[in-house]
């Protein structure tokens, strides 16, 4: 079995950059970290507004079955995406969500961490970059990718001319994530997850 593979699911609405979020994470792994990555995307016939999901698998070895069964990490950019997919997560997995868009289930045993991604995105330029803020947060909290490889992947994936703004959005999320991690480590009795950066 491929026990070395990590499965990540990004959920939200079409137009939020859900697929791009998965694409950037996969690109960082596949091109800048010498890993294998498969990104699959699911969406409805509508171009905007329908439920949308990006499923990413990252592994040091070639990936056989390309579909995500039990994600280890869920990134939720909408309430709908959170509610639909929170139960699909492995028990020791983690859920990252935009606290302005998602009201979490307080009874869930799964490790949760949140960031006001939409607010931060507005502060650095435009709310459309909330997904990039979330990527920064995710990079700080997990061992998925290094900040350096992610910055390369962000720059190469966003529309030309928007790179500086998107990098600002990424760094905003990354710095917030580092602070979050620091205060989390100081606290006692918190839930934890093996996917949390040590």
């Amino acid at each position: 079995m491929q026990t070395d593979r990590l499965e990540i699911r990004v959920t939200g609405f079409g137009g939020q950059g859900v697929i791009l979020t998965g694409y950037i994470l996969g690109r960082a792994a596949a091109l800048f970290r010498d890993q294998h990555a498969v990104l699959a995307q699911t969406y409805g016939p509508e171009a905007r507004g329908s439920a949308c999901r990006a499923d990413l698998i990252v592994s040091p070895n070639p990936i056989d079955y390309p579909q995500v069964a039990r994600p280890n990490i869920l990134i939720a950019l909408s309430q709908d995406g959170y509610t639909t997919h929170k139960k699909s997560i492995e028990a020791d997995g983690m859920i990252l969500y935009d606290e302005e868009l998602v009201r979490p289930d307080m009874d869930s045993p799964v490790f949760h961490a949140s960031i006001p991604a939409t607010r931060f995105a507005k502060e650095v330029g435009h709310k459309i970059m909330a997904n990039i803020v979330m990527l920064g947060f995710c990079t700080a909290l997990t061992n998925l990718a290094t900040a350096e490889s992610m910055e390369k992947a962000v720059s190469g994936s966003v529309p030309k001319g928007t790179e500086p703004k998107n990098l600002n959005a990424f760094r905003k999320g990354y710095e917030y994530g580092q602070q979050w991690l620091e205060s989390h480590m100081k606290g006692n009795g918190h839930k934890t997850s093996p996917y949390l950066r040590k």
């Binding site: 596949a30 699911t42 056989d64 579909q67």
Partner: protein, 389 residues
Amino acid sequence: MSEHSGVLTGAHFMNGDEASAEGALAAGCRFFAGYPITPATEIAETMAERMPEVGGVFIQMEDELASMNAIIGASWGGVKSMTATSGPGFSLMMENLGLALMTETPCVLVNVQRGGPSTGLPTLIGQQDMMQARWGSHGDYEIIALTPNSPQEMFDLTVEAFNLSERFRVPVLVMADEVVGHMTEKVIIPPADQIKIVNRRKPQKGEKYLPFKPEENLVPPMGSMGDGHFQHITGLTHDERGYPGANAAVQEKLVRRLVDKIRKYAKTELTKYEAVMMDDAEVVVVCYGITGRSALRAIRVARERGIKAGMVRLQIVWPFPDHLIEELSAKSRALIVPEVNMGQIVREVSRAAAGRCPVVGLPLPGGAMHKPDQIVEAIAKAAGVEAKA
């Protein structure tokens, strides 16, 4: 990266549709005519952006009938040409696919299969057009169809499709599917000088040219419009000059050759497959396309349970490799055939196995690919082992 050659050399994180378009450009395709359709639209999008960069032509046609005709015309103009579609468009292309077969026009048609029939499941997988690929146009013919299992193979096999179409003067089908088309993965594009390119043989200077007079390999050289040849090209049964001849003798000569030029090489040049863990395999999963990725996981799981399982993944499905299945069926306990249709290629496997061993179909109606466990269960049953070890 060399712009002139159209080869995007390097490592990319791209989806299967984009990789197929890049494969076409690397093979020298400079004409694309198509009508967008999910899940093949990204091929047209990529072509629309890339063709002007390499001095080629992209045309969005009014429909799929016209798309197929346009690529036939472009090919006779001397340019490698391609179209891409999915189920509903594939149906519309069938009539003119026959014209390409009859006029021996090299061209490539990519079908990113989705669930059908009819409009079916626009955004979800199917492998339901496999028999249509073989028999969809009227009349008797042989055709070549390739089945990629990854974005990398979307690139590699699209290059191969062009090479085979030029070599055999036949339309070649790339029978992909929604998962492989929309899946994003690492794709390595080699330097231009490391990609094997085959070009149609043109008539030699001073040689008397007849557009349908075959050489020893049964394939006629092909002159382009504008090269100074008189050419008569028709869908009617024709002689070596291309002139209609409405009688059994001309039909016999032409159609027998159209079929034989492929059959003659079915066991050699036109057999292409991947064999995994086959050295001591007793139960063999015979599959093609994306289903091979589920099958690969399945045989690994089966091996962990002590079952000698192996996989043969066909990369060329048409012409069907009868000889390969004959050989496998003679030494295997069972052949398992998972496919995302209600049982198409399994019929071919059964026919070629001819009762030498049991052939078990694992049909799915579309909308999802096989979960590895579904295949593991079938392997275990065939091996006479309890599925849950």
